[in-house]
């Protein structure tokens, strides 16, 4: 049997050869994490993922979650996997050891998460959301709140969620109506209805901690009047023991296209007037708190989508090597010619190299985002910190929006490689495609990601982050130009990068003009073009390393891998970037039809 979920060689390549994460151990903060330790961490994460989490993938989808008498039960197999996961203390890999974290560099935790999420991310959402909710407590909680909640969350004894969405407040979160009324003891009585709450209710652990967005009575309308509250399912006594039920009632669970193992709940808070929350952070600063957590959350969603793509690619390439069907094209006319594995057919190879190059480019991009945040953490130069943080902020909508868009396409191609069997539930491809789909929607739809990129990130700090990023890309281009067999690819990336600069200027200016609506109608195409260029950069960067290693005389066992790297960058720059150039022409045209067309003219009335 071949590799599943993620190609270990590729994971190691990005960690060690591209990003050189071992060097992080030169900093005191990460001194524990030398290369050998990193390798052992990845091996053991992979081991746990393959042996215990992957077997829950299909069962979790088939069983789904059940709601009976307000109690949600998760798929049976999730319990054992969850216990093993938290016993191994994998939940809060990069966090503060004082509160139950492991103090690990984010880049390494992403590589471990690559296997965990690829094994079954619907399962991983239970610990994943707990991690996110705990980060809010860590960032905004009082010492008392940290003491009561944080360790129990980082260790997975309790899980966490995030209560944002309401029936009339989804993308428009400022519209929410959940209210908070201050009690005499300083707590708040919370009343409202929340929907689409992942892991909102379940039977994995004894308590669930809900960070809730609500409006304090009399607070301003819109996002400026939103506060963040900590609302546990069972109240927590001062000694840490569990108190009474806190009137958080699950009134329904959604029946979804994918991630069926994760309970998506409707929750009624304070239906009997008995739901008590405490303020987390300052009053009316709830949205600011959300924004601080956004990079983390969006990077995680990017990982979720990506991991489906990576798993789908591993499956597809292995299937194509084994599945015998049809004759080799060159022997088509010979009735006696043997049937061949489908990997010999040109169209199947086209699909596989497309999947391969996207998966590799996206893995590099996501790990690079983790790497930037690690570099911010170890840098002691304020200007350098700001530069790195700016590039990270700029890349986040691409890591979420572009990556999940492409991940879904890769998963679709992964179905196609299997032919009819790709459509059948006996094989994992269709589930990966279904599971992947939500990543384009939640945690800010990809349309919102595109608007974030164009409207907020591009002009941030007078455009310094994008200039800084371009400088980084140009460095790689310069290295590649010095290598004979990369020259052509480097020139293509350079051309695309320059064109991207032009369309960024153009769209930025258009957004300031009366044609602002049309500019934003091209926000998504702009995000896609930006993502293509960044992916091309990542693949070129990989190509520089691979070409250098081959030149030096790589070990025999590494040769095919490095040659594969050169093929990925060749494919992407020669077969994909020309399409990107066309997309950028379209953006430059900024066709106004989408904005000008009247609502009646859409027809269908």
């Amino acid at each position: 049997m071949a590799q599943v979920i993620a190609d270990r060689r590729d994971v190691d390549f990005v960690l060690h050869e591209q990003l050189n994460v071992g060097a992080l151990s030169e900093h005191e903060k990460y001194a524990e994490f030398n290369k050998k330790t990193v390798d052992l961490i990845i091996s053991e994460a992979r081991n746990l993922a393959i042996k215990e989490i992957l077997p829950t993938f299909k069962e979790g989808d088939e069983q789904g979650c059940r709601l009976e008498n307000g109690q949600v039960s998760v798929p049976e197999s999730f319990k054992r996997a969850y216990d093993l996961f938290v016993e191994g203390e994998w939940l809060a890999m990069p966090e503060d050891p004082e509160y139950g974290g492991q103090g690990m560099p984010r880049t390494i935790s992403l590589a471990a998460a690559d296997y965990f999420n690829g094994a079954n991310y619907a399962f991983m959402m239970y610990p994943g959301l707990t991690h996110g909710a705990a980060l809010l407590v860590e960032a905004f909680g009082t010492e008392r709140q940290k003491k009561l909640f944080l360790k129990n969350m980082f260790t997975g004894k309790w899980t966490g969620t995030m209560l944002l969405t309401e029936p009339e407040a989804g993308s428009d979160v400022g519209n929410l109506t959940t209210s908070a009324v201050k009690n005499e003891d300083g707590t708040y009585s919370i009343t409202g209805n929340k929907i689409f709450i992942s892991a909102g209710e379940h039977d994995l652990v004894e308590n669930i901690v809900h960070p809730v967005l609500a409006r304090i009575e009399g607070a301003p309308a819109g996002t400026k009047g939103i506060s963040l509250f900590l609302v546990p399912k069972y109240r927590v006594n001062e000694d840490g023991s569990l108190g009474e039920f806190n009137d958080v009632v699950c009134t329904g669970i959604e029946h979804k296209m994918g991630i069926n193992g994760n309970a998506t709940c409707s929750l009624t808070l304070g239906g009997k007037g008995q739901c008590v929350g405490e303020l987390l952070g300052e009053a009316n600063k709830g949205m600011r708190a959300m924004f601080l957590m956004m990079n983390e959350a969006r990077l995680l969603v990017g990982m979720q989508g990506f991991c489906c793509a990576s798993a789908s690619f591993m499956n597809a390439v292995n299937y194509a090597r084994e599945r015998v069907q049809g004759k080799n094209l060159l022997q088509m006319m010979d009735p006696n010619a043997p049937s061949v594995p489908i990997i010999q057919h040109p169209d199947v190879r086209r699909m596989l190299i497309s999947m391969k190059s996207y998966v590799e480019g996206m893995r590099s991009l996501l790990y690079y985002a983790g790497y930037l945040s690690d570099q911010v953490a170890v840098s002691d130069d304020e200007a350098e910190k700001a530069r790195l943080q700016g590039m990270l902020d700029l890349l986040i909508p691409i890591c979420k929006g572009y990556v999940t868009d492409k991940a879904f396409e890769v998963c679709s191609t992964g179905v196609q490689v299997y032919g009819g069997y790709g459509f059948i539930k006996e094989y994992p491809q269709e589930q990966l495609l279904r599971d992947c789909r939500i990543t384009m929607i939640y945690e800010g739809t990809n349309g919102i990601q595109a608007m974030d990129l164009l409207g907020r990130k591009l002009g941030m700090n007078k455009g310094k982050p994008i200039m800084d990023l371009m400088v980084e890309i140009q460095k790689t281009i310069a290295q590649a130009k010095a290598i004979d067999n990369l020259k052509d690819y480097a020139a293509r990336v350079e051309k695309a990068l320059n064109r991207l600069g032009e369309i960024a200027m153009h769209l930025g200016a258009t957004a300031m003009s009366p044609k602002v609506m049309s500019a934003f109608a091209f926000a998504h195409p702009f995000m896609e073009a930006s993502g293509d260029v960044v992916t091309a950069w990542m693949l070129l960067w990989r190509g520089v390393i691979a070409a250098t290693q081959l030149e030096k005389g790589a070990k025999k066992k590494d040769q095919a891998f490095y040659e594969g790297q050169l093929k990925s960058v060749q494919y992407f720059t020669q077969a994909v970037l020309p399409i990107t150039m066309g997309k950028m022409d379209a953006i430059m045209n900024t066709c106004e039809a989408a904005v000008e067309i009247t609502e009646d003219a859409f027809g269908g009335k």
């Binding site: 049997m1 071949a2 050998k36 390798d39 052992l40």
Partner: protein
């Protein structure tokens, strides 16, 4: 209790095995290596005994540089120290491996030695019992349950169609069988601690043991035969097909 565990690094069962040129070894490129699954049982059992009775767990492996990974996994699971004996490229069979390991084990004072009953790569079944024999201590194989009291160990072992309860005095060597326990996964804190635990590397030439020349020589290695395709019974009618099938079952397959 001073406990020693013998372990071997083997190709993961998921690995695609190919025979190397020369036909007597396998290709090692691209293989994912893991701790022999029966040895995982041995490490787990040692850790459970230590948790109950105290003491230390030392893991031993005779193997190349790469074998250190399996030792580190054992340390990450919770073993205290590790010893790797480097064979320095010398070919080894089951008996010579046992000689070297027994030589090193005699240098310590172990109350109990635990080994997998076999390594899943070459299914030799020999090293554990041979080590016990060379050390002059009793051995109980295929253990699925054990209990240590007052310097004695009582074990339940599998036999064909049932189990057998055996008891012997310590020091002794036991080998593991599936069902003994459920090996733990290395925890993340365990991995971090493993980094600081010592791995003692000893070159074969420094051990003072001369394993001699291997007494077993591999002459050829073959993959299992490929499964043959099915056969469709031809015939003009259902009756004719049934007749042909019965004939084939009786005369060719000889099953009826």
């Amino acid at each position: 209790m001073e406990i020693a565990v013998l372990l071997k690094q083997v190709p993961a069962t998921e690995s695609l095995i190919e025979i190397a040129d020369g036909g007597t070894t396998i290709k090692t490129d691209g293989i994912n290596w893991v701790m022999n699954p029966y040895d995982e049982l041995a490490v787990e059992e040692a850790l459970q005994i230590r948790a109950a009775d105290g003491g230390t767990v030392t893991v031993f492996s005779l193997g190349p540089e790469k074998a250190v990974e399996a030792l580190r996994t054992a340390l990450a699971m919770g073993a205290d120290t590790a010893v790797r004996i480097d064979p320095q490229g010398k070919p080894m069979d089951g008996l010579s491996t046992a000689k070297v390991l027994a030589g090193e084990l005699k240098k310590g004072a172990f109350d109990l030695i635990i080994a997998g009953h076999r390594a899943v790569d070459d299914d030799n079944f020999q090293v554990g019992p041979a080590v016990a024999e060379l050390m002059g201590i009793p051995h109980i194989s295929m253990v699925i349950r054990q209990e240590v009291t007052d310097g004695r160990i009582r074990c339940t072992r599998t036999i064909d169609g049932g189990t057998l309860v055996l008891e012997t005095a310590l020091p002794a060597l036991i080998t593991t069988q599936r069902g003994l326990n459920e090996p733990r996964y290395a925890s993340l804190p365990g991995i971090m601690k493993a980094k600081k635990k010592p791995i003692d590397t000893r070159a074969l030439s420094e051990t003072g043991t001369d394993p001699g020349e291997p007494m077993v020589r591999t002459i050829a290695m073959r993959l299992p035969p490929q499964r043959k395709g099915g056969r469709i019974i031809e015939g003009d009618s259902a009756t004719a097909k049934a007749e042909a099938l019965v004939k084939a079952l009786r005369e060719e397959a000889k099953v009826i």
